[in-house]
Each structure stands twice: as structure tokens, then as C-alpha cells.
Symmetry: C2
Subunit: 652 residues, 2 copies
Amino acid sequence: MTGKCARSSLSRYLDGEFCDIKDHLRQEISQCDLFKSSSYDLTLDETRDLTAERLHFVLQLPEMRRHLKDQVKERQKAFISKSLGIAEVLCTADIATGVKMGVVCGLFGGAITNLGSPEQKEKWYLPVTELQFTGMFAMTERGHGSNVRGILTEARYEPSSQEFVIHTPCEDAKKMYIGNAMKGNYATVFAQLLVDGESQGPHCFIVPIRDGEGVMYPGVTAIDMKHKEGLHGVDNGILVFDNVRIPRENLLSKFGSVSPDGKYHSPIQNKGKRFNAMLAALTPTRLALTVQAMAAMKLGLIIAVRYSHSRRQFGPRDQEEVKIIEHQTQYLRLMPHLAAALALTFTTRFAAEMMDEAVHHGRDLLNSRSLQALIAGLKAYSTWENLACLQDCRECTGGMGFMMENRIPALKCDSDVFVTFEGDNVVMLQVVVRELMTQYTKQFESSAMFGLLKTWTSSASDSLRTSFLGFSTDKVGNLAFLLKAVSYRERVLQRSLAARLYTKVEKNKNEFFGAWNSCLHHVTSLALAHIHRVTLEQFALAVQACQVSADQTLLTKFCLLHGTSLVYQERAWYLEHSYLTPSTSKMIRTQLLELCKSVKDDALKVVSDFNIPSCCVQAPIAGVANPRAEWAFYLAPEHPDQPQEPKTLSKL
Amino acid sequence: MTGKCARSSLSRYLDGEFCDIKDHLRQEISQCDLFKSSSYDLTLDETRDLTAERLHFVLQLPEMRRHLKDQVKERQKAFISKSLGIAEVLCTADIATGVKMGVVCGLFGGAITNLGSPEQKEKWYLPVTELQFTGMFAMTERGHGSNVRGILTEARYEPSSQEFVIHTPCEDAKKMYIGNAMKGNYATVFAQLLVDGESQGPHCFIVPIRDGEGVMYPGVTAIDMKHKEGLHGVDNGILVFDNVRIPRENLLSKFGSVSPDGKYHSPIQNKGKRFNAMLAALTPTRLALTVQAMAAMKLGLIIAVRYSHSRRQFGPRDQEEVKIIEHQTQYLRLMPHLAAALALTFTTRFAAEMMDEAVHHGRDLLNSRSLQALIAGLKAYSTWENLACLQDCRECTGGMGFMMENRIPALKCDSDVFVTFEGDNVVMLQVVVRELMTQYTKQFESSAMFGLLKTWTSSASDSLRTSFLGFSTDKVGNLAFLLKAVSYRERVLQRSLAARLYTKVEKNKNEFFGAWNSCLHHVTSLALAHIHRVTLEQFALAVQACQVSADQTLLTKFCLLHGTSLVYQERAWYLEHSYLTPSTSKMIRTQLLELCKSVKDDALKVVSDFNIPSCCVQAPIAGVANPRAEWAFYLAPEHPDQPQEPKTLSKL
């Protein structure tokens, strides 16, 4: 299947199983005028129209339509992995288009296909794949963004008319930040279901917003939120419902339905569990954010690495100035991000495959605690790592990096919101820890849990503490050492958090929210430690699985760099816990500097093997000329050692 | 003099000596329609026109004209401090206008007043204060941004016509990123002076660019660089000179002049020293960047702190949700930035006073090594700190922080370039260390220097190392402990850097650039350690000098927080050097969490005492309504304990 891709072995390895459809999409985008470098003079409306046209272009591609129709089928094999591959390619072309597709297919489509009955999927999502209408996803409210459980929008069932009445009871209940709100036709609206005066908790309803001519459905108001930091192509708006009537069939019925005479039925009795099940069904969309952040990161790295290899500044007296990549600070700032981008590539693939596995076998995503933890944590880690990476790319390209032509500013602004939307990162980290801690018990606050915590805190801990302490100093550069270090940190943080919570809640009878809040810094540290560990493990496994020896050697260096960088960042913690001695800690720093230096030339090959077509890179400082900014052009550097392999896409 | 300001004692203290002219400017801006919340739909040209109008409005104010005329006078008392106060106020209203004023008055005006003769000041700068024309500052070239010594533009003297011929010999010599290039009338152009075939190094020339009607001067081309990440109101462009002829009198002659018959004369013989003297004369402008970054930071903090005190999310079961400022992660992210903003306020004031002192007494700024180091380091530290602060403000305000109405996005984008322009921050940090090391000797690479380094590395070091080790653990929260810690770090880093350089260059005969480059991470660490120490010391002195006991108590807490935060950030280093034990390091973390918690309510008073008028704050989430985004409005919180003092400006 990968035979058709005529490019380097590493590039194929990084692209993964779905390189054919990804290549196809790259080709289509490269040939499409809509994706040509666009003007920065467009008005907001023009930018939104362009984004809508771009999305329409992608959705009408026969391969895409075939793929999207699979979404309606049950237990479709590898659907998520394939979708994420597509999402990454689309985001390298334009993040706003990628996000808009995420709203229409991932969120609106995902809500219907995951929460709806087979008939509902046919009726409400199949037309989207046939370009008949688009949808939006209305969960967030003014009063409840991160704390979505407390949403206030009401859906009262009226047996006489067999209708639900969707209503916004107050200012705080207004649906906010809704993507595609100014253009879409239908919304999946989350509202508290009220049947016969009794609340059944949040459910999801299909609410018509406007028809094909743009005429609003009675009682629906959409307010344009207009200008944002980035993602100008995505039309975010506010939805207000004034007793909007929809048919009984518009309640997505997988987790709850109402009979014509007003009897509520659900396969899950507990309201909290029911809502969790609904949210869990939306997990794949969360992973898409990681992929979108990765796309932005890779673009930033291509641009910064290429420019660093062609721009010269400073140097030995009376000699030619050196390439700026030679400056120690330059490679020290860029190389760890490149290693992280590789780690994320493999970890995301792993998470997607786990999810596809679960879906294919009809397993409940809610019960895959470790998968939930991984995806929430990946969302936070990847989106923050992306921002840090793009900021370094921007600074490492100096004034040129501040110019719009060179793409980095827009990448930063477009992807900035990723750290707070679809679950604020700080909240995501709390999800990670909650999931980690409830792997063993069903109710976090049950005494069973605390019984367990109690045992946990007193047993096995000291053997854990000392088991890795006997390393000799020459092992610091060893991957095994690094893997053990990140794993040790996660376990100690977990154990000590459990002990602290146990003391506060069980012994001192503190109220739970206050106890948890007073440990929040600890909680977020643990969550990140967990994700760090998983990314390093997945990177190491991918190195092991790599079949081409030269590629394996290259990836090994970056894997070591990723591990070293993770340990270096947290060396204070390791020193505090006597896991590193002062001298091993200094060795870690030396090792970081040396590894960064050793991969700085390889970096050119790696960014080239990200296989992003020129039309998507666009930046003149990365060697892609732009007639509007000839002054910005720098010839793309060739890799000094490697003869260039045939790259079919390089001239697109 | 400060009697006229009817506001809180802390607000007066933070505003400093020039609160009257600052208040006057605040009042004028508040009443001026040009500064009213502007549309985000403006085209680039419209935005630039608006910025030009805003600048014109400010320059025509009688107080401003009086102040600017002082710039032409020699040894004007406190001119720099007063100018910086004005710059800060203007930047809180609009950063682009502040930057544009920096270009016209600080850079163009500064070049003329610092490098020109009295007649040249009269001729080329006085008209600017009379609104007859504006200017630009043309130093940076395509090939030489940070490494400005290597600029390529030529100025050949032609005795026959008594003219200089200004010429751009190649692509890399084009003047780039020049602010006001599309609107300004004259440029101060830095070019290599060639007299009778001999190069005399870079000098500064007045070159006419376009007349009042916009007609270009013969041989001059200006290319619009158009769209950037931010600062849309500043028209950056490229200048190309094709044998442009200017009169002999247009060479700014303080550090070098050419007689009619082509004899070069300069008070400074050494070319390198001469150029350094020219650059040193421009130091005040560099400090302006710190002030501009501070303005952005303070605005971000006002918005994020107020919103955090009114927005509620999550909370104990069955109770009202808590204000988000109560979340541990929220106050942990925001409070250290607030402490840093205060530290920067006092440190900048100190640096400005030092500079005013030097100027007033006619001292050579070049020879104030510690001042040069301070200003270069402050530029780097403050602009990075600003970006980190604004990013946290953006994330701590969630989706609201991503909306343009709430100001943070534009603050981020406008101030992002500060970290690379007017001296890339990484280069600035190298300037710091060069200045620190040459405080003792005139030539860095001279053997005298290395003789000194040799002594330095072997003597006194161990007593230094141990002298602070005997602290008992209860002193960690003591300001004296924190001051000693940051000072110890600076000295050890300096000593070890000297030792490393000495070994590489003198013992192992490494080439200097390579040796320096291999220590670059060490160099940048030392530079930041230096600035950290100075900011903490200046903060501590300002606390001491504060006359009002309640204010002093408040500032003491923030000063402790700043010191704790600085030590916490670098605790790995302290652990590596056994300056902290694992348990004291953990105490530092606990102390950081507790201090952040203890000041979170005081934060409301502090941001209010920044005394920024509502019309400049603008953000609906900070309690300033905007009719275009009613949905974003959150009532500004009142400080829970403090009764509000009369604030004359709060209703502006």
C-alpha cells in the first residue's frame, strides 16, 4: 500500500500507514488555486468565504467523500487514524480550514455518529458528506466553558406536540464560541433534558439554525463574535434559543430517548455516568487537536531550520560569517522541539490506533481510562509544546519571522487557541490525573479509593525509590536510564499526590474541592510527567520498529535528545529527590548541548521528510519564493551530506 | 509637584516623579476620539494613517512640544526619565503609536541630538518638534541585523561637488525593517564612510527620502514591507540608495567630520571605539523598549487579574462556583508576573536616573559599563518577561482572552517583535556579559584581561562558595537570603565562565569566536542572572524607600515573591551547586505557592494603582463595556477589603 509513495524511507515511516490518501490530498491541495498564498488584505468576511470554499473543495474530493461516508458505518476499521492523517495534511495547508472541517465532520459529525441512532446518522450526517448542508457543535456556554457539566440550556419535552422546546434561560446559558455559527445549517445542541419536570442531565439535540438561503429558524438568534487573535476563517458566534421547537426525533438517542407520551429511557441509569459516556464518544475529536498542533509545529520547524541553515550572522574575525544554526543558543532552542515533534508523531499514531482498536471491537471508550488520560494529556502537552516551538521558531528567525509572508505569525495566532479550547489545558491535566487515579476504582471519592490510596502510600514506595538509584554515571546517556527516570518521576508524583489527598480528605476531613485545589500544582506536574513518559516510550518503540538502519540511527539520536530534554527540564525535581546527583545533573546539561549540536545538520533531512509540499510551506525564508516579498527570499539549503532522494512533491 | 495627582499613595509611588505630565497625557488621550477603541476592519493603510494621526495629536500637545524641544538642549536634567514616563503612557494607549514616536523622536531624533552638532540639531530635529516633517532611522540592513558593525551601505565623499554619495552596493546592503519608511521625510542613514578611498567605519548621515508632497528624492527607493504579526500601524519598509547625493553638512559630525577638501577628522582615533561611541549615544532608546514592554505587561495583568476576580468556574459540590483566581494554578501563573512588573518599574526608573545623571554631568555613556550591561540586559529580560506574562494572561482568560475586543491578542502581537528588534535578545545577553567582563579592562581579548581572569578563577572563589551556605532553613523566606542567593549565582557563573574562556582561549589556543560560542548557554545564563539580581536589589531598595507603611507592607510581599520566583526558576542550579539542599528547595516551592496565594487579592489594588485609564484598558472582561461586544462584558471587581480611594481617572 505504501509502495506508491516515491520518497525517502524516513519520510514514508513518518507518514505512516495512510501515506497514499495523504499524498493524494497533498497533490490536490497543491494544484488548487484556493490554497495558493492568499492576500493579507482580505476582510473578515472574505477570509471566512475563502475558508468555506476551501472546505467545500476538500469535501467534494471523491476520496474524501468515500472516507466520510465510512463515518456513518459502525466499527469502521482505522477510521480515526485515517481521519487524523487527513486532518494533519489539511492543517499544513490552512489551519482554519482544518479546524472548520473539525467542527463540521469531527464535532457535528462525531456527535451524530457517536450519539445518534442509525436512522439519525442517515438523516443528519450523510447529507453533509453529500455537501447538502453543514453543521456546528453547540456545547460551550458563556457561564460554562471548561465546567461543561453545568450547562444551563434547557430542552423541555412537550407531550402534546411531541416536541422539545430548546430554550436559553439566561445570559450565562448562551452558546458561545460556536464555530460555523454564521454559516452552518444545523447544530448539535447540548441541553439539560427536562421530562415531566424532571431533569435527566445534558443530552444532545439536532436544532435547525438556518436554511440553505440563510433564513433563520424561528426563535434562533446567531450573534457574530467577529475578530479573534487568529483562525479568522472560522466564523465563531453565539447562539440564543427562544423557545425553539424541534421534533421528538431530534434528540440523539443512543444514550437516552423519550417516548411520544413522555417516558424517558436510557441504557445508563446514573446521570453522571451517562454524561461521561456522551463526552467519551467525542474523544477522537480531542486527539485531532494534537494533530493540528503537530502540523503547525512541523511547519514552523521547517521554516526555522531551513532559514537557520542559510542565514549567516557573526563569526570568527576576518572570516565569512557563520550560519546561524551554528550558534549554540540557536540549535539549543530548535532541536528539542524537533525531537518533540517526532515523539508526538509516534505517540499520536499510537493513541489513534488504540482508539481505532477499541471502536473496532465495540469497546466503550469511557472505560479505557489509560486512553482517556493519554488523549487529554496529549492535547495539553502537544498544544503547549506547539506554542513554545513556534515562539522559538519566530525568535530564531529574527525580524523575518515577524513578517506575515514567512508564515510563523499566522501559525502562532491560529494555533494559540488550541491551549484553551475543547478543554482548557489546565483542566485537561486534571482529567489525566483523575483518569490515572480512577483506573483502580469507579468512584474517585469512594472510600474504596481512599483505602487503596492508603495502602499505596505506605507500601512498595521505598523499593520504588531506590530501585533506580544504583545507576553508574556513565549510563546517563543511555535510553534505558532516561526511560527509567521519567517513569520514576511519574510514579513518585502519583504516590505522593495520593498520600497528600488522603491526608487532607480522609484524615483532616477537608472538603474535596479545596483539597484537590491546594494540590493543583502537584496534579498538573503529575499529568505532564505521565505524558512525558508515554511520549518517550512511544518514541523508543518507534525507533525499535524502524526497519531501515540509517533511519533508525537518526531516530535514535532524536529519541535520546527528547529523553534528555525531558529530564533536563525537570532536573530540579530529580535533584530534590536525589535521583540525580549534582554532577549527573550537570552531565545531563552537557549531554543536551552535545545532542543538539550533533543533530543540527540532520535536522534538514528530518524537516524535509515531514513531506510538506512547497505550496503549504510558502515561506520565502524557507526557500519558497513569493513575488509579493522578493526581499524575503533565501534559497533553501541542501543537506550537506545526503544526496537528495527523488521527491515527487518538492516542486509542487 | 506630585500634589496635583488625586489618587492613592501607591499609585503615586508607582508613577514616580513625572506623574503630572503622565496624568496630563492620560487625560488628553482619554478625551481624544482618535484613541477610542478602533475597528478591527481597517485596512493596513487606514491603520497606518490612524497611527500617524495619533502621533500627530500627541506631538502637537503644548506640553509635549515643550518637552521635545528640551531634547535639543545639552545636558538636560531628567530628560530621559521624563521621556520614558511619556512613552509608557502612550504605549498603554497604543503600542504602534508609541513605537512610531520612538522611531521619530527616540531614534531619528536621538541620532541627530546625540551624533550631531548644535547647528545640525537646530536644522534637522527642531522642525520635527514643530511638526514640519518626520524622520526615520536606517541602520539595519538585510545582511546585517544584529551584527550591525558589518553594514555595507557606502557614503563616498566627493570633494569636487562637496557631496557624499550614498549607495546600496548589493542586495544585502538594503536598509530593512525601517519604521516610518513609507511616510517619513528624512532618514538618519548609517553607512561606511569612504574618504579618498579609505574607509573610516560607519557614520550617520541625513538623507532626504521624500518631500512633503511625497515626491521621492532622486535615487531613493522605498519598498513597502506590508504585513507583519503586529504593529500594523508602523509602516516598515526597505530603503535602497542609488548613488544618492547629499551635501557635506549632512554628515552628523560629533564623532567624525570631513572638511570641504576631503580631510577626515574625528575626536576618536580607533574605528571600533568610534562606532561604539555612536552606538552608546543611542542607549536611551533601548531602555524605551523595556518601558514599552512594561506597558503591555501591565495592561495584560489588569485585564487578566480583573477577569480572574469576576469569572467563576468549578467549585465545591452543591455550592456556588469559585472565582477562577482561587484556582491554585491561576494565581501561580499570574502573581509572579505581577511581581516582575513591579520589579521592572523600579529597575527601569533606576536605570533612567543613572543615565540622566551621566548625561547631565556630561559623562560618556560608553564608559558606564555597568549601565550598558544593565540596559542591554533589561531589554532582553523585560521583553521576554512581557511575552511570557501576556501568554499567561491570554491563557488565564480562556476563550475570552482570544477575542480581539479583550486586547490581549493585539498586545501580544504588537510586542512580540520587541524580543528581536533593536538588538536580538540573545545578542543583548552577550552584550551584558561582554560589558560585565570589560568593566575591568578595555580590550576583552587583551592578555591583561586574561591575566585578570586567571587570578579571578583561582582566588576568592571558595570563600565565595561557602560564605552563604551556613544559612539555617528558616531563613529561606528572608529577603536577605534571596538577595544573597541571586548574587551568589551571578558571581559563580561569572567566575566559572571566565575560567572556561581562559582555558579554551589561552591554554588550548582555541579561536575566540568558537570558544565564546561553545559557552553561549553559559553566557546567556550569566546575563540573566545579572539582571535578576539587579531587579531584585532595586525592588528591595524601592520597598525600603517607600514612605507609606501600608504600601511598604504590600510591596514587601511582592518583593519577596519576585525573589522567591527567581530562585525557584533556577533551583536546579542552586541544587547542583549545593546552595540549596533538597529540602530547602522544596521549601522554596511551598513559599512560592503561599506567597502567590497571599497576594492574589492585593493584586486588584496593584493593577488599579498602575493608574491606566479605562479608555486604554478597553477590555470588556476587565469591566470596560464595548457596544460591539456586549457579550464579553464582566463587571470590574471591587477590591474586597479596601474602600475605593477617589480616582479621578477611573471614569474617563
